[in-house]
Symmetry: C2
Subunit: 293 residues, 2 copies
């Protein structure tokens, strides 16, 4: 792919750093002539999902969202998704081309709102709505409230996600290093549905506000620690609020499920950067498909 | 309006109960001939927002969402919004006609996903994405987790929202009875940003899964109790997960803000029905515009 045409944080930004895997494997390229009459504010892009980010046979939802977010950020003209909601309609497919459509719903000086969609093989895979802003802009000091990061053993004393008996294959662990708090790493051994741990890109690409939603969808389901092997818990809808730009290094995360009824799981999460600052909140609705449901 | 054509929970359901205010004032009517080429799965509706649901000079966001949700539920073919996200782009206008557009993104036996928009006077006011299901369907018993309702004095010992010095006019209190926990009813007197209380329709219309999002957006901002008079805190984005169908009677609610940075507020809420069962969760991103920001 002609990486010079990639949108987002590709080469040319950050002083000539080599193309990272996530940058290359979630790049989007504007389609200059969409070939059909398009509605006002609509833009089309092409992308390709890679199989290395699969959970089982499907592209991880947070990964499938990443190229859509890149296109949406470009359409918004602001860098940071302060609120993004994605509905996952059909699993994304690895090693398969995709088309992204964005529609600028409301441009604004502080906040712009954009709709985005990912299509593969002629069918809609995910639909998203997001508000973008520029978090680095600075503002007069005001009142603050924040969540403190959880206590965690250092990454080297946590468990590799691949070592958990989750019941699904995890090609994504070729791309992401995910370490789980040892107290939460035994299936069904906990009396609360909670997972905490560390995450970073395997090639040490620094986290960014565009990739925090992927981080928020890459841990085992919080019900794993409580219910045991739950297999794939598909996400119906994921909402991520990005709060600050993360510094480079490991990202710390905590996910809790306090609400499960009729096989429908609500999971709430939070992410902190290497300096312990809260960088994102997440909440998702998932479906428990396994024998426990 | 020809109420026999109204969609949702209008007359003809519930055994001939008179038209309630919320039913009449959030009714939608299909536009048979949209007059322009429409995309597949798209439907158009007309509605009218009433001024009685204003907060200050603007339609309450949850109220403006209600007709859109009615149209989306009709398009989905399922009754209950198990996940709905609305982005509020421009304030809705009371006593003004509106047009609703829905697009069925993915029909399903268990879950259908729909996009919806509200336009008034030619401009887009709100955009929504929602997954609908049928919560009354029943399913084999499985594992459950839930949130217990907060302890509250009974409604008659709580404070009317109108009695709080919030700094905005509240025409909406002609339509909704909102009672606040007395410990949270003094501006700025609490050391946590939390609001709890009771809510019901003033004409005693029973709550429904279509009106819980409105209930989730009708309390004072949780930062009120902590920061003091904060005026209007516009909602950028609101996500509501409906968990169960509520029984008739007062709905109990609790909202917490544990995350405020750069004037951007994250508020999380939960609603319980008159039997104390959790019926909805909410999370929203709001903007603190007042002098405290």
């Amino acid at each position: 792919m002609a990486s010079r045409r990639a949108t987002g944080e590709g080469p040319g930004r950050g002083g000539g750093r080599p193309v990272s895997r996530i940058d290359a494997e979630s790049a989007v390229f504007p389609v200059e002539d969409p070939g059909v009459a398009s509605t006002p504010g609509e833009r089309r892009w092409r992308t390709r999902l890679h199989g290395a980010w699969n959970i089982g046979d499907n592209a991880n939802g947070g990964y499938a969202l990443t190229p859509v977010l890149r296109a949406m950020a470009a359409a918004a003209g602001h860098a940071d998704p302060v609120s993004v909601t994605a509905h996952f309609l059909r699993p994304g497919r690895g090693d398969t081309d995709g088309e992204v459509a964005t529609r600028l719903l409301r441009p604004g000086r502080r906040i712009s709102t954009v709709a985005g969609e990912l299509h593969q093989q002629g069918s809609l895979r995910l639909a998203a709505l997001a508000a973008f802003a520029d978090l680095g802009a600075g503002s007069p000091p005001g009142p603050e409230l924040t969540l403190d990061p959880p206590d965690l053993p250092p990454p080297e004393r946590c468990r590799h996600r691949g070592g958990l008996e989750q019941g699904v294959t995890l090609p994504i662990l070729d791309r992401l290093e995910v370490r789980i708090h040892p107290d939460r790493a035994e299936a069904g051994a906990s009396d609360t549905a909670e997972i905490s741990g560390w995450i970073r890109f395997a090639d040490d690409t620094p986290p960014s506000t565009l990739t925090l939603p992927l981080f928020a969808d890459a841990f085992p389901p919080a019900v794993y620690a409580w219910l045991g092997r739950v297999g794939w818990v598909p996400t119906v809808e994921l909402t991520v609020h990005v709060r600050r730009r993360p510094v480079p290094g490991w990202v710390r995360a905590r996910f809790v499920c306090d609400d499960l009824v009729d096989g429908r799981v609500i999971e709430s999460g939070a992410l902190w950067d290497a300096e312990g600052r809260l960088v994102a909140r997440s909440r998702q609705l998932g479906l428990l498909l396994g024998p426990g449901a």
